[in-house]
């Protein structure tokens, strides 16, 4: 059994309590969620939740099935079963203790394609978008100046191509999913 990180998306009907049901399921079954983000989709009445969970494949598969059982859940995708793109957004406030810092920080921001979105006398706020490795690296760079505050959205993800039958963990057919799913290694 391999333990690895799974990035999963849940498409859910916008019903009262839908998010509570998902959160309660995680708590009840002891799944440890590293990040979670929710927002509406382009289809009215549907929201999409993206979350990151680390666990054994069998445990994550069980979690996927339990999520699928929730009445308001339309679709569960385990992105780790196929190619996908993911991003997170971070806002980070960094202390400016002397004017030289400001110049150096601007240079680092350029390298990371981060934007400065707020400028104060003694602090700058940067907006950083990318994968987690990039945001982590940016935080490391800023530590020397003094990180005052930060917030990250957690990962959001989309499959890179339309899910192919039997490959990308789509579950639209409803026909004996357990049997027909072939896992990516």
């Amino acid at each position: 059994m391999s333990v690895r990180r799974h990035v999963m998306s849940v498409t859910v009907r916008d019903q009262p309590g839908a998010l509570v049901r998902i959160a309660a399921l995680f708590a009840r079954r002891g799944y440890n969620i590293e990040s979670l983000s929710v927002a509406q989709t382009h289809e009215p009445g549907l929201s999409r939740t993206t979350f990151v969970v680390t666990g054994e494949d069998a445990q994550v598969e069980q979690m996927q099935k339990q999520l699928q059982k929730l009445i308001d859940v339309i679709k569960v995708i385990d992105h780790s079963e196929g190619p996908y793109v993911d991003r997170e957004l971070m806002l980070i406030k960094v202390a400016v203790r002397n004017p030289d810092d400001r110049v150096e920080m601007r240079q680092i921001a350029q390298d990371f394609r981060a934007r400065i979105i707020d400028v104060a006398r003694d602090a700058l706020v940067f907006e950083v978008t990318g994968d987690e490795a990039k945001t982590d690296a940016f935080i490391e760079q800023m530590r020397t100046f003094g990180v005052l505050d930060l917030i990250r959205t957690g990962r959001v993800a989309l499959p890179r191509t339309a899910p192919r039958a039997g490959a990308a963990g789509g579950n639209g057919t409803g026909d004996d999913r357990t049997a027909s799913r072939s896992r990516a290694a």
Binding site: V12, R13, P16, G17, V20, R21, A24, R28, A58, E61, Q62, K65, Q66, Q68, K69, L70, I71, D72, V73, I74, K75, G174, D175, D176, R177, T178, A179, S180
Partner: protein, 557 residues
């Protein structure tokens, strides 16, 4: 509201009124729906649960807001664990007061969320027909389960002139009914290749007794019935090996250890069935048929999973198979059966087992049996398994003491005219004893048989075996009521029985009367349920105890 229920075919509702559900009770006053007034909301939920289990028709219960609704929780959790279709309707405070900690307000959808298949808070009267239609649909389809609909008081009072015909549109809920043909073929191949197969049926098979019968008749396969599967295959049939697991038969547990294939049908491999997972059926290919994909490979890895309704899958599987050549396997199984018949010692005062065996003999297993939870439940599962589906009603998953008596009420309404025997212990029966009033009121043909050892017997057994005989808080005899007098106080015939001669004479008489009765059998206090697989041990490590063959062999298989 009630019109919508009528459209769902509801004829009987179990409930208890209160402030926040008064508009619905006002409408009941003129409604053709029969309301059964229970004396505690928990009993209403259990009765509705048993009504479904006994009939296959969705059970319905009503309760008021706050304490009324929270009293349903144990009943809903029981129904959820045992996959029983219940729709619970609760009143709530008016919408404007929700969230203000109003009188008798509780977050009922929040409280019941983990113990229901789904729940609703109705916020607009125009949604009510759709929500009720969805609630019944969700409760009875796929893997059945309880659904709660919380209705604020002002919604109950709002006029509704709209259309009751609503389309159910639940894009996230499409249970897989039809099994995958390739998987069914693989299952058939695995069964044909097996030399020592067993069929294990669970509660899911209660809907598919005919299909199970056809399959077993053709193949000649031995059948193990879990606690929830009792009645889905006749307990008295020659191909039956009885119940598996913690208090299963020696034959069933040995069959599990020695078989090379388990065909699991409508069960979830509960820990009380499997014991220690690594020692469960180590040599077996597991073929698992269930309508809930999440149960497959949850605990026991399925080599051949089939998601679908047994009523679809089993006949298709039967078509692919013929009689199996199981001569050697049956010779082994029959030898175990012969060495380990059900046995108990009668060289001491009256024992629970003989009382339950007497009830089984006198009814022929053709009645409805409900049980409470404890030693008597295990004795009944082994000595009083019924022969027809939907006639064995017991709290398996949650193990709810206080279930049996209200369940008997639900079963009596679901199967009018049939005798219902409620097998109880002196501990459990007191957890919903107030329902004697409901039994009396409707003169239900329920015989309550208490095997009274003056103890919380199952806890006592564990304390004796695993806690160095430190009998902590299990002694009831010094403060139990006189059960016969208690029954009489409710207007029900009550008997205290102390010896086997009186028991043998009284049981047939009482059964023949087809009216409410309570028989309190005072039995030997230290009897234990054997065989027993200690918690955490493998099924091959069972303690055989009283079931030991005369020519004693080792304790483990």
């Amino acid at each position: 509201m009630l019109k919508a229920l009528e459209r769902q075919g509801v004829t009987t509702v179990f409930g208890h009124p209160g402030g926040a559900i008064m508009p619905i009770y006002d409408a009941l006053y003129d409604s053709p729906i029969q309301h059964v007034l229970v004396r505690h909301e928990q009993a209403g939920a259990h009765a509705a649960d048993a009504y479904y289990r006994a009939s296959g028709r969705v059970g319905v219960c009503f309760a008021t807001s706050g304490p009324g609704a929270t009293n349903l929780v144990t009943g809903l959790a029981t129904a959820y664990m045992d996959s029983s279709a219940v729709v619970a309707v609760t009143g709530n405070v008016p919408l404007s007061l929700i969230g203000t900690d109003a009188f008798q307000e509780a977050d009922v959808t929040g409280v019941t969320l983990p113990v229901t298949k789904h729940n609703y808070l109705v916020k607009d009267v125009r949604d009510l027909p759709r929500i009720l239609a969805e609630a019944f649909h969700i409760a009875r389809t796929g893997r059945p389960g309880p659904v709660l609909v919380d209705v604020p008081k002002d919604i109950q009072q709002a006029a509704f002139e709209g259309d009751f015909d609503v389309e159910i549109d639940l894009p996230g809920y499409r249970p897989t009914v039809v099994g995958n043909a390739r998987q069914i073929r693989r299952a058939a191949e695995a069964i044909e290749a097996a030399e020592r197969p067993v069929l294990m049926v669970g509660g899911g098979a209660q809907v598919a007794a005919e299909e199970v019968e056809a399959f077993t008749r053709l193949t000649g396969i031995p059948v193990i019935t879990t606690l929830m599967g009792i009645g889905a295959y006749p307990g008295g049939a020659p191909q039956s090996l009885g119940m598996p697991g913690m208090h299963g038969t020696v034959t069933a547990n040995r069959a599990i250890s020695h078989c090379d294939l388990i065909l699991g049908a409508g069960l979830r491999f509960d820990d009380r069935v499997t014991g220690k997972l690594s020692r469960f059926a180590p040599n077996a290919t597991i073929v698992h048929i269930d309508i809930d994909p999440a149960e497959i490979s949850k605990l026991v890895k399925a080599h051949v999973p089939v998601v679908g309704d047994l009523r679809d899958v089993l006949p298709r599987l039967t078509e692919l198979l013929g009689p199996l050549d199981l001569g050697d396997w049956w010779a082994q199984l029959d030898a175990w059966k012969a060495s380990y018949p059900e046995r108990y010692k009668t060289d001491k005062p009256l024992v629970s087992q003989e009382v339950i065996a007497l009830l089984a003999r006198e009814t022929g297993g053709d009645c409805v049996v409900t049980t409470e939870v404890g030693q008597h439940q295990m004795f009944a599962a082994r000595l009083f398994p019924t022969n027809r589906p939907r006639t064995w009603i017991s709290s398996g998953g949650l193990g709810t003491m206080g279930f049996g008596l209200p369940a008997a009420i639900g079963a009596a309404f679901a199967r009018p005219g049939e005798t219902v025997v409620c097998v109880a212990g002196d501990g459990s029966i007191q957890m919903n004893i107030q329902e004697l009033a409901t039994v009396y009121k409707h003169q239900l043909p329920i015989v309550i048989a208490i095997t009274n050892n003056g103890m919380l017997g199952m806890v006592r057994q564990w304390q004796e075996m695993f806690h160095a005989q430190r009998y902590s808080e299990v002694y009831l005899a010094d403060s139990n009521p006189d059960f016969a007098k208690l029954a009489e106080a409710y207007g029900i015939d009550g008997y205290n029985v102390f010896d086997r001669e009186t028991a043998a004479k009284l049981v047939p008489e009482v059964l023949a009367r087809k009216k409410p009765a309570l028989i309190n059998f005072v039995v030997y206090e230290s009897e234990k349920v054997f065989p027993m697989v200690p918690a955490g041990a493998g099924v091959d490590e069972m303690i055989i105890g009283d079931q030991e063959a005369d020519e004693a062999e080792g304790v483990s298989a």
